[in-house]
Symmetry: C2
Subunit: 700 residues, 2 copies
Amino acid sequence: MANITKKVSWSSRADESGAAGEGTPLLNGSEQPRHSRQVQLAWWLTVRLTAVTPEEARRCCVILDYDNIENQLFLEEERKMSYMGFRCLEISRWVVCGLIGFLTGLIACFIDIVVEQLAGIKYQVVKENIEKFTEVGGLSISLLLWAVLNSAIVMLGAIIVAFFEPIAAGSGIPQIKCYLNGIKIPRVVRLKEGPMIHSGAVVAAGVSQGRSTSLKRDFKIFEYFRRDTEKRDFVSAGAAAGVSAAFGAPVGGVLFSLEEGASFWNQMLTWRIFFASMISTFTLNFFLSIYHNKPGELSNPGLINFGRFQGDSVAYNLYEIPLFIAMGAIGGLLGALFNVLNYWLTIFRIRYVHRPCLQVMEAMLVAAVTATVSFTMIYFSNDCQPLGPEHTEEYPLQLFCADGEYNSMATAFFNTPERSIIHDVLCGILLATITPDGSIWADPGKYALIGAAAQLGGIVRMTLSLTVIMVEATGNVTYGLPIMLVLMTAKIVGDYFVEGLYDIHIKLQSVPFLHWEAPATSHWLTAREVMSSPVTCLNRIEKVGTIVDTLSNTSTNHNGFPVVVKPPKLCGLILRSQLIVLLKHKVFVELARSRLTQRKLQLKDFRDAYPRFPPIQSIHVSQDERECMMDLTEFMNATPYTVPQETSLPRVFKLFRALGLRHLVVVDDENRVVGLVTRKDLARYHLGKHGLEELQLAQT
Amino acid sequence: MANITKKVSWSSRADESGAAGEGTPLLNGSEQPRHSRQVQLAWWLTVRLTAVTPEEARRCCVILDYDNIENQLFLEEERKMSYMGFRCLEISRWVVCGLIGFLTGLIACFIDIVVEQLAGIKYQVVKENIEKFTEVGGLSISLLLWAVLNSAIVMLGAIIVAFFEPIAAGSGIPQIKCYLNGIKIPRVVRLKEGPMIHSGAVVAAGVSQGRSTSLKRDFKIFEYFRRDTEKRDFVSAGAAAGVSAAFGAPVGGVLFSLEEGASFWNQMLTWRIFFASMISTFTLNFFLSIYHNKPGELSNPGLINFGRFQGDSVAYNLYEIPLFIAMGAIGGLLGALFNVLNYWLTIFRIRYVHRPCLQVMEAMLVAAVTATVSFTMIYFSNDCQPLGPEHTEEYPLQLFCADGEYNSMATAFFNTPERSIIHDVLCGILLATITPDGSIWADPGKYALIGAAAQLGGIVRMTLSLTVIMVEATGNVTYGLPIMLVLMTAKIVGDYFVEGLYDIHIKLQSVPFLHWEAPATSHWLTAREVMSSPVTCLNRIEKVGTIVDTLSNTSTNHNGFPVVVKPPKLCGLILRSQLIVLLKHKVFVELARSRLTQRKLQLKDFRDAYPRFPPIQSIHVSQDERECMMDLTEFMNATPYTVPQETSLPRVFKLFRALGLRHLVVVDDENRVVGLVTRKDLARYHLGKHGLEELQLAQT
């Protein structure tokens, strides 16, 4: 299904026999020419990793709060907890990570098996049809059948995605990147299909909360983890597990999570994430080994691999280094070009292809075009290969070839990605630039690998994690150094022209994404200039009516409110979500006096409402109740982080980024509130071609 | 020499014959039994990584400040800098990292070649001697000669270390770990010999500052980098480059730096560190390939490797997993035992072996004992191997064997570590537990590798980086999963009994090391309880006499002073080092008026003094000058981070750890200073067997 997702998403590159798009590992020991397999796999990888769609719902993201709300309730709970309690929590974190890894591995395994089965069915149907019609010259009917089969599956997937869950379109990587950065795009981690990275994150969000909104089940476990801080940690683990299952790269998975969310990193968390990755690869390999009737053989890599490179003692030579670097530069150039085209296409699609039915038609059009192109290619190709006695090709098609031979081009289109040999179709760019004289190189597969790295690096620009993923996927570290060189060159060259693909899409979604550091030339700015001011403050004991009016004010729509005492001094910070829970439970001073027996509001009530707090409109407050008072003392965070007005932007930025803040109160030298810095205030400054620029950002 | 290092180190860890002890890669293509080589190499690795000595000077560490001092001078400089200026800075950071990698690689190469040459010389001398005396029955003279040779080199090294640079003893890893955490042990990054990780860090500290105190040269470049923040980043890169050169593991090197210093991590920095690692491996391989007359063959790994594992398609099976886990558990147990013994031995040596001459004698004693043991083993061993036509052994010794055979035991002692075959000597524990019936296993080398992982993991407890280092050193990712499993098991089991070796030694040095998180049960504590109070504050315009007296007060010896204005409100924070520079340059209000032409104090003056600021005693202030006033406005950090008194310890801790702070001002709700939290205040809380405990820490 992910496959379909892919087709729907951007320019399509569609084909694909069906489910998932993550293929099967090379268990059948096929002896296909290695380099072509690698080249086409690289291409396919590019497709998979770069499939991104614009968000329709892009103007309604939610900022996550990675700063614990340390109010009295929280501190009381933490203080009540014994050392053993903390040990148990720690153990349950490990258990949850194990579960995440296990389920992600299972999903990967399921996808893999379904893809293989669907491909098999398609092959059978088409093959029988071909055998029936070839003699009577009706081959075009077979090919039409094939095109219809493809289109039907595409349509099914496209309809599901376009009408039911638009967020499932694309690779999900930009969304997960945003999530780890601290911006939640609604429904991003709810149950649905998607590629492995996304799947892992979805599993993590579900399992760690001990409940599922989509399935409407609450298992009453892991309630402690129902807050942004903990949830984010588990989502990191899920994303890592997904990468791990997709590429058989547990370390690469950890590094992927690290590159995207590293500012709140710590060692124990790293290990838990590593554990999830490990379990995920293990689960996948274990079940696949059973499926392939070789139970217990665990040395298989993940779903995708570049084939095994057996280590030659001299894998590459000094004179090849400049060649690698040149390939990296070309990859960077092509990647930048790809990104620019992708950007234009995305803009076009945002403008003109925004209705679900249009999107389905678009996907089907692409499928039809693909089928026609395939048809043409097969028709004009006369790449007939002898059908060897080992039957290394699982789906040989004779088509226009002589008896005892098979048409390698047709075969390629029936194989799941890593099985097929599309060497002269897809890899024009790569091989043309790489192996003008393939024979003089010991191993053209090496160049294919390097070419793949250059291309991917030029597009996505993740150097460290991509290196490790590729090294783990090839199963040999010998190529580590050249891959690194190539990825770095590609990044440097590509960055000169345009940002990485994910960054482009993040910017298109205009979410307040915080980069690693404040723009270099932003020392001119101080907190006073960037903060939002004036700020709506609440008194520690505030009238209910005032609170309701403040929350209902759609023109400001703030999410955090400084709490003050007279003379106006900052004494705390309270969130919209907390106020809503308080209003819902009618925690009013007057009522508390009259109903002494009523149980005190507990942290549990906040956790139950997390993360989908009701809107203020859904809460009914009577006219009498509006006159009541609310005491916020117990519920506000009594020690919010503050900065003076003169603090420079880089300093504010560092505090925000390092602590994962959502609100930062700006105070004067008498501790009076003068402003509030939010993530949006920081994210809008951007280093453009002409110095510091301000961006338009989505409403948070 | 590495060989000698090894023998002297572990039981004593005193020695350090000098340079480094990283051996040579397996370039000669020897076909020695693989498993034994791996086992002995693992043993040797353990010895190398775990060689740590107590610091004599352990009560005088310096805390680094990873928070930029954002005073007016700094902001002015930053604001003056154009966008191009920042680009240039960024480029010079890359250049410095490249240089660090290059020099570290060169050092590794130099060490490798010297070790090989020395081993060759030793072999020649002893062999000639043996040939001369064997016939006349004077073999004991040869062996005596050999023992004397060994002892002499050990003595030379021991004298250099013990008398001239005690900090060079040990592996340097705990020191670098401390440095990355934010504690500088004096002289730790000054020019001297040491193992590769340490060497890399030393190179980085030198190169990045554009000058060397040891060499008394200032190249007047990279002056911008003369502050703790930048220097630490480069030291991270150096440590990574060192690991990279030692093990041929660039990614492992990055992860090592990451595991130790990750709280101030960012993506650009990661890439620079990665670049340094890459260049380091590349340089090493390039020069070694020239030395070995195979120029341009770059696929060799680092100095140390476990031999190449050619990927079998079935590398391991499900039923082996429990076995791996059991090995991990045993490794954890043995590691814990080793650590406890090491702890006692260290305590013993701190008490009784603290004078340099005693240390030299200790080292020589160990060398003598080693020689005697070797002698005995060679004498009683009759492991004679036929001298094959390929002459795979570089240093065959006939000794008590028949003609055409060589004594493998004696040969082992003449080889540099990775060359020798000490299988029945050193690997008792490992092989006994692993291959009771070696013949049934396809590859006993696999078990040796897993055993090595278990042993190392049990001792040092670095899971993620160690996994990657071992995977990169074996050149095959197939064993990634089992290595991970084993390391995690070893860590869990080992942690149950005792901390990791480096943590033990860090604790022995009683430095204020901050762990990843505050102790779990520390929510009881607030800033009010942990802070130092009362705090010595300075006025914004302060009398010189007061400042001198404050700095000279040895009973408090503070390093940071809150600056206040009347009515007492916090308006900044100034450091001892800054005040000293101000006093030295006599930046007094009265003098500025009289000498209008005098140039204004610039950031450069602070950088020139960095990092070895003179003590207050060395600055002469006359009685008249004591009556002058100093205006701190320009020099103090006007926006120090503050917290209210009620802030919980975990919150304070997070702020400290995430931002790398040295001082945190505690204020009341009117912005008056009530206390100061330093690193020591936080580091002294520790989770012991009976809940929260307070530690005794070194004076900072």
